[in-house]
Symmetry: D2
Subunit: 293 residues, 4 copies
């Protein structure tokens, strides 16, 4: 029986240690094994020595069946933005150290081979959509894999805003900001803020207030089909800013509105058959070794 994935695009970002080497090795391995191998266009610009046919983001969907990403979790997040609209599956090869989203070891080609031949599990991670409105007019829209962070900009004052869930008033916040994270994002930025871990299979999102004025504020987990709206108080001196997956920053004026809902796209991950979420958790959070007592 032939491989499950035959047409493969490679992608990498940044020039961190080991990325180019792994990219070359994977390119060579797959080419020799007679897969049809492409390189994502931006990747081709960064790593000019890799001799593969470049594919523009718009072509990925038609020309290949799998996007293999070399790097860390951050690279997968970037890949998701390209691949998600077409539900193109993503396989992450780490740089020698397990990531939450990259579980193939860079030099275990046998593991890679098995995955390509069908020994994999597919997992769809839902994404969130964030929309900013001013006077009812859509100003900005983005999708995220991890989280949307609303936070005060350069002003030193806390931000005042109201939150509505499914058009029902939830509460008023006075805080440095608030992180809304998916289960995938629950082990990223939201965790530094004291948020809980959400199992990836949960259809839920978590809202983690940042440095809230109200001492009884707590992270709250709500159903993923909720529509969250943030209304920025008119009385704020200047508006807060939004950061999507830690990538960009757009600011909202006092009086503006942000809406968060489940996106219609997903991050479709391909894991080796023996993938074990809890093992990743134990390893990444050093549960086996870190105790002071």
């Amino acid at each position: 029986m032939g491989p499950a994935f035959k047409k493969i695009a490679l992608m990498a970002r940044g020039r961190k240690k080991g990325v180019e080497e792994t990219l070359s090795a994977v390119a060579q391995y797959l080419t020799e094994a007679e897969y049809e191998v492409f390189i994502e266009a931006e990747t081709a610009k960064i790593f000019k020595d890799i001799d593969l046919t470049p594919l523009q983001a718009t072509e990925l969907d038609n020309r290949c069946e799998l996007l293999v990403v070399i790097g860390g979790d951050g690279s997968i997040i970037k890949a998701a933005h390209l691949a998600a609209p077409h539900k193109l599956p993503i396989l992450g090869i780490n740089r020698g150290r397990l990531g939450f989203l990259t579980d193939i070891h860079p030099y275990e080609f046998e593991q890679l081979e098995r995955v390509l031949h069908g020994e994999y599990v597919r997992e769809d991670r839902f994404m969130l959509k964030c929309e900013l409105f001013d006077d009812g007019k859509l100003l900005y829209s983005d999708k995220v894999v991890n989280e949307i962070a609303l936070s005060r900009g350069l002003v030193t004052h806390m931000v005042d805003f109201d939150v509505y869930i499914n058009h029902q008033f939830m509460c008023h916040y006075r805080a440095d900001g608030l992180i809304t994270a998916t289960p995938t994002g629950s082990t990223a930025y939201a965790m530094s803020g004291g948020g809980p871990i959400l199992h990836p299979r949960l259809d839920a999102m978590v809202m983690v207030p940042m440095f809230p004025h109200t001492l009884t504020s707590r992270p709250i987990v709500i159903p993923a089909d909720s529509c969250i709206e943030f209304i920025i108080d008119e009385k704020n001196e200047s508006g807060p800013c939004i950061s999507c997956d830690g990538q960009e920053r757009v600011c909202i004026k006092p009086g503006g509105r942000m809406k968060i809902e489940k996106a219609d796209t997903v991050l479709r991950l391909i894991h080796p058959k023996d993938y074990n979420y809890y093992e990743t958790l134990r390893t990444k959070l050093h549960w086996e070794s870190v105790g002071a007592r």
Copy 2:
């Protein structure tokens, strides 16, 4: 049109301020309004002056359509254990102060009247089942509305135990214990331990480690259809104890096993039509008033 609930049993526990007075007033009001009114048998023993036909727990299901509970959240928990097997709906009348589960004000009989005539929303809160095994033999079983707390007994040492989820090893804990809570229980004991709030509509449970040795341990939210197993290390000097909804304490021997799964019973709550979960949250957690800054 006649009332939605015609046959009603009253229940109360404890002799806290205002309970007897409210119980009498409700009994009188319902009797005069020509409802068929009973009193739950244990309640009858505590409040001997209330002149109503007592019903044993086993009769509740056949003889009445609604269990009206006067008291706080703790009383609802106790009522759930009687009513849950039959999915008998429960309506909570608080003692003048809103509870998470008791949202009818004691002297607003109009509000009560409207609920009884059908202006209500019904909400099923799932429960958890806890089973203890020793050498594969079932030693103890219970159901909870809020949480199951595994904690060290009188010994000063931490408890060592392994947790498996759906037969997959999750991690080893060295801790004072661990709380497994439903969304209903997320605002009770689990919250004191730093757990997140889980929206009642979530089909999820949260595991909150108590004073864990591993400093990177975090509360984790998992799907409610998970089967959690705790294997108590043989090396513990003495076994930990289990407390179900804060009510009883059963101990497990080193080597013993505890299994937690979703129960087949639910707490069926009746709320007034204008019930608003977030309002309850804001009020109970004093979100409107408590800020140090």
Copy 3:
């Protein structure tokens, strides 16, 4: 026996509810009681209807013995910046709601009278000095009553910096920032970030990391005679910003250095004789009323 304080300057900031009214009432009361009453110059500009001799900041020290501040804790912080260089005592009159630093009720003139006649306790709260250096050159210097917050500016990336204590390397931080607070500041911004309460009598400061990358980071309390230095990594894309008592924001370049030490000034507070720190704590943190369970 005559009053302990005879020459008094009044100060207020902002136009919040009740401030002007209280300012007028206190001015009238003290004038009628034949105290020598002044108004701080900036206050005179805001409240033009108060007919008192204005005093510039530089004159406060020579012309008066007590600075009476009407407002909340924020106003006391502002007053401290004027009064601290001269150790001029400060008495805070709140706007009807107890503050951590303002414990005289606005209309209890008897309480005020008793304090002015010597029934008071004096408490010196130490302050911190913050200095920013670039290439060894002092760029900026400020003093704080509450805290110095180092935090990322508009960039979405975390800040990388090293901390040295008494020239000994403490650790590397990768975080959204770090708050260094006095005991006075421990119940302000630092508390929202999970910092402990420090008793005002403690000669200690607390460092609270903000959203640290390292999950085992914890607030740390160190002796107040320590010299803390922050070295901002050259590799940061842009430098973090410093906010002193939440008032201004100055940015440091990558490679820059911030030094924090105890200041040579103090906030000298005058409390009524029956002042009780724990009572303030209980009231401000709502310890008597806020429990979910």
Copy 4:
């Protein structure tokens, strides 16, 4: 110049991996180097093959100048109870892994040699004294290096108790318990409960409430010269228990009283000259490696 310490007693507890081996090697090394070497009496009973003159606890003070403890931090705690009354210095040799209190590597005899010849720093860690009273009668008294934990016993209910500091009412607690820790204990049990790190040079203690009912409860750091009193509510069904340095458990009746004050004994630690508290902190808390993001 001769050694700074010539008469040395060896002590170890437990039979953990490596202890006996290290004990033998150290005994042999010191004997050959012509130190006067003893073995603490209890240690002699556990490790019968070590051929040294045993010393009873009461003789340690007269016969030797230094107590060398082989083991982990727990062993130092045990040694402190023997050595503290006489301020006998303690030197900790770990079992190959740095402890907070044991910083000599087991096979680096040169390091040991240098310490014995005077290249050391001495550090006194203060201890706490705990006294239990019933009806004004002293029932129990103990001293601790780390912490005193008051916690509910086998009952499932929280404990209600009042805390007074220097005879001033601090607050009422409804909680699973409360840990009072020294700076030394701040990185032990208290840390698992969310307490801050206290620098060892601080003359302060920290009170960490366990699972408090009041959601705005926070760890609080107070001066070490404070006298803390706990009055157990008469209304508790049964009394809480006290655990001193995790070693024993004594229970207090409802109505009983516990007093905590600084003890008149200290743990006198001997560190190598290059001892660095922050390095120990970084290593023990894995600050260099543990980040999820």
